[in-house]
Each structure stands twice: as structure tokens, then as C-alpha cells.
């Protein structure tokens, strides 16, 4: 603080008296929580047995594996890779669609201010439960119903999707700006009218964004589903990785990357189209 008085002053703006701000408010809880979290993280880092020195060679190793994979990719595996990619995409699509259809109404019922408290509680529990069950276990339960078919994969993805989409959904709904909701209330709108004209116009871009992202996740989740035998590009990738056929892995990766980048670009374009209003100009 002493520095304030010696700070060079210009003749112009300086008020006659030195300006002292009010005392900084203290928030003991904040300090306690920050310290607690920091200490916990440090303890965890300290307690885990990891030889960090091993990461030194990582760049060289990465270069070596990249060379192994991409110096001479096994192009002959590409047709099969494309077929398996289609498998992944179709399971992802059906799973995503089903997940959306089911989670969409549920996420509204689970949002504060829309669903009655008991319903909300049950639904949130359900979403959490689904997210707690490992994918493979969900797949095995469904497998006993629909067998070792891609349908099982799609259904497993759908069930899984309900957990995440439901959670994202009610979070997005609760996060919308309250103004338009208030306007609907003030005009005498009922609960579902509020949902349609107070919430949905605001939350729709987020929803679409989550749906597209979920689709992307589903395409990649086929690695796990591949284990049970329903195929997919992820399964092919891990299999060849386990057998260390790097040229094939390289070719597969090229396919995967092209496909997922294409999905990302498409979804980005769709999202931009929806949120157009908040478009930002690039400035000099």
C-alpha cells in the first residue's frame, strides 16, 4: 500500500486526497475450501506411485509409433474399415435417436420448476444410475434380450445416452435466461406453454449441440461394444492394436479421423446455423 503514495502523479486527474478502497472482504469458507482442495490434490499426486521420469522419452516414442503406423499404411484394409465404420455409424445413429426420443421429455420433467419434486428426484436418480453402470454390463443385460446383434449395440448406446443426455438436458434447461420464462408466466401461460415458448427457443441450440456430440461419442463407443461381438470400427482398431499390426492401425486411424472430422464439421455447421444470432465477427 505504501507504493500508492509514492506513485507518480499526473497533474490532471489526481483528486486532492489519495484514494483508499474499502477493505477487501474476506470469505473464510472460500479460503478453507480452496486450501482443502489444493491439499487433497497434492496428497493424491504425492501418494500415487508414478515414475514421471518415464515421460521424458515420450516424444521420441510417439514419433517412432507414428512412423510405424503411417509410413506405409495397409490400404488394403480400408474397404473393411469403411464397412465397420458404417456399422459404428448405424449403431450410433439408431442409439442416438432412441436416446434422444426417450431422454428429451424426461429431461424436462427432471428440471427444477417443471417436474414435480418426486418425479424430478426419481429421474435424476435414474440418470445417475445409468451413468454408473459400466457400458459392458448394460450391453450384457440387453444382449440376453436381443442377442449378439448390432441392435444390441444400438440399444446399449441408447440406454447409455439417456443417462448423459438427460443430465445435460436438465442442466441446460435450468441454465436458460429467466426473462422469457417470466414473460410467459406474466401472460398467463401454463407449465407446458412455458416450456414451449419460454424455454425451448433458448435451450434448443444447446440441445442440438448435445445431440450431435452424443452421436460423435456413440461412434467412438463402438470400441467397447465391439468386445461383445457387434462389430464397429473401434473394435477393429483395438484388435489390430492388440496384435500390433501398426500399418493396419495407421490405415484405420486415417479412416476414423476423416469420418469424425467430417461429423464434427457438419455438426459445427448445424450448430452455427441455429445459434446464428450470437454470431461473432472477427475483428482486426
Amino acid at each position: 500500500m505504501t507504493a500508492l503514495n509514492t506513485a507518480p502523479r499526473t497533474s490532471r486527474t489526481a483528486p486532492a486526497r489519495p484514494v483508499t478502497p474499502p477493505a477487501k472482504p474476506r470469505n473464510p469458507w472460500r479460503v478453507v475450501i480452496t486450501v482443502a482442495i489444493t491439499v487433497a490434490v497434492i496428497l493424491v499426486f504425492w501418494s500415487v506411485k508414478v515414475d514421471w521420469a518415464r515421460t521424458v522419452n515420450l516424444p521420441a516414442d510417439i514419433a517412432r509409433y507414428l512412423w510405424l503406423m503411417f509410413s506405409n499404411p495397409a490400404w488394403d484394409k480400408v474397404p473393411e474399415a469403411l464397412w465397420q465404420t458404417w456399422r459404428s455409424v448405424e449403431m450410433a445413429w439408431v442409439g442416438c435417436l432412441l436416446g434422444i426420443v426417450i431422454s428429451f421429455p424426461l429431461s424436462f420433467l427432471a428440471a427444477r420448476g417443471i417436474g414435480p419434486a418426486p418425479v424430478r428426484f426419481v429421474l435424476r436418480g435414474l440418470f445417475s444410475l445409468i451413468r454408473a453402470v459400466p457400458e459392458i454390463v448394460i450391453a450384457i443385460v440387453i444382449l440376453s434380450v436381443t442377442g449378439l446383434t448390432p441392435l444390441t449395440g444400438a440399444l446399449a448406446l441408447a440406454v447409455n445416452g439417456i443417462g448423459t443426455l438427460g443430465k445435460w438436458g436438465y442442466e441446460a434447461i435450468e441454465g436458460v435466461h429467466p426473462g422469457p420464462i417470466e414473460a410467459v408466466h406474466a401472460a398467463g401461460g401454463s407449465r407446458w406453454q412455458t416450456v414451449r415458448w419460454g424455454i425451448w427457443p433458448q435451450a434448443s441450440p444447446e440441445f442440438v449441440s448435445f445431440w450431435l456430440y452424443r452421436f460423435e461419442i456413440n461412434v467412438r463407443a463402438s470400441a467397447v461394444l465391439g468386445l461383445i461381438g457387434v462389430g464397429g470400427i473401434g473394435d477393429m482398431l483395438t484388435s489390430y492394436t492388440q496384435y500390433r499390426e501398426w500399418p493396419t492401425v495407421g490405415a484405420l486411424l486415417i479412416v476414423v479421423i476423416i469420418v469424425t472430422v467430417a461429423i464434427d464439421l457438419t455438426s459445427g455447421a448445424i450448430r452455427r446455423r441455429i445459434t446464428e444470432g450470437s454470431r461473432v465477427r472477427d475483428l482486426a
Binding site: 444382449l143 442377442g147 449378439l148 446383434t149 461381438g229 500390433r244
Partner: protein, 299 residues
Amino acid sequence: GTGSSASPEAIKDPTELTLALVPSQDQSGLVDTAAPLTDFLTKELGITVHGVVSKDYQAAVEAMGAGQAQIGFLPSLQLWQASDKYGARTVLQTERNGNISYPAQFMTNNPDKYCDDKPVERDGKLFCNGADALKGPAGLDSIKKIKGAKVSVLGPGSPAGYIYPMLALKEAGLNIDTDIDKLPVTANDASVLAVYNGDAEVGFSFWDARDIVKKDTPDVGQKVVVFALSTEIPNDGVTLSKDLSPKLQDKIAKALEDYSNTEAGSKVLQSIYSITKLAPADPKSLDVVARAAKSLGLQ
């Protein structure tokens, strides 16, 4: 998917069959499809047979239990579980290069400690303590020295990566809970690499998992020495769901066995499953696995 559980008296055979093939860990190639095999069976049985390659043991067994798969090519422990849990019948056992069984191997990167003799080289890989016989059991006297060492082990469902080596240690007088420092891995190649990289002093795997990682680490045969082999583990085999009538079961078993005896059939089986022959199963040989698993307190 087809079929549903049926009462034993009046079994109506399904109009479609599903064959679940779980790749065995000790095969060198990669199984993508069981198509040649299912094509053959479809023709032979007059019933459409779909093939599915599943890499998850539990998924395959549960599929058989729920009537979603009727024919299973499963590893030994799962063969036994399918029959124990769901009444499936193990009909055939596979033969590789004339063997109907295979050993688990104990590997080390510290041959000075575990080898009583000088390691010898076979096919570019080192063995000691007579493990170069390539037939178990061998060198089991030396495994007492594992006490206190860091050991890479697979999941408890793996006969070669867990059950048999652990049983051997137990029989050698070690307490498997306290006497060794377990480094869990989930695949045989990882177990080899753990020893190769020095993360573990000793590792378990099927014989000879070093071949898998040889492509990346050509010197694995020199750095990782196999110093003991466990008693022989039964090969994988073919099991049939109880949803099938005994008549159809026999028909399938016979068709497969005959197929493996033809030169063309043997070639197909070799290509997709690295087996040379299918022979009638001896259910008792599976009991060994079950007993091994039980004695480790896993059931």
C-alpha cells in the same frame, strides 16, 4: 437372435442358429469372421448359422444362457462355466499342432536369479530350466524364488495368465495374497511388455506370448526369458446350448469333427482359429480348470 428357453421334453429346434466364437488368447492371428465355418454348417445342417466373433467371455456365455447363441467356441474355463451355469454340453476340444493342451509360462528379465542353467535359444527366444521342452510342467522348482518379487498377472478368469500359475505358486508353498507383489494387466502382450520394460520382474502369460510383441520389440526373445512352464491347460473347445435337441447336438458335433478331418476343413479352422483338428471332448479335463479356479477361492 432366435430361440428361447424350452422344456427338456419337447425341444423344438430353432430355425436359425448363432455361433459365438471367442478368440483364444494363444492364437497368433486375428479373427475377423467365422464365415467359412458358418457357411459350411449352414450347408451341412440345412439351418442358417450366423457367426459372431465376441471378445468378451462373459458376453458369449450369457448369450448361450439366454438362448441367443447355440454353438460356442469358448476357452476352457468358459466351457466349464457354460455347462455348470446353463447346462450347455461340451462336445469337442480343439487340437493345435497335435496338442490338446498348452502350458502357461513364467517369464523374467532377471535370468540370473531364476535360471539354474544357462538359457538356451529356440526360434530366437530364450528358455531355461528345461522350459525349452515347450511342454509343461517344467522348471517349477524355481518358482519359489518369486517370493517378494513384482509379478505381472492377468485377470482371474485367465487360465494361463492367472489360474494355473497361481495354483503352481500355491503348491510351491507361497501365499499368493501376501508373498508376491501383483501388477495387474489385462492382456498377455501387456504382461510380456511389463517384464520387458522392467515394470515387473516376473510375468505370467500363455506360451508363447512373446511372439505378439516381437514386431515392435525384436529383442524381446533375448531380454525376456521363460524359466518355467505350468502343468498343461486344456485347449478351448466347442459347446452346445441345451436349447438344442440331443439329435441336433450330435449332428452338429459330428459335422464339425468330420469337417476338421478333411484337409479343406482343417485349413479353414487353422486360418480362423489356428486349430488343426477338433476331437471329442473329455469333460473331465475341464473339471481340472474348475477345480483349479475353486482352489484359488474364486468361486
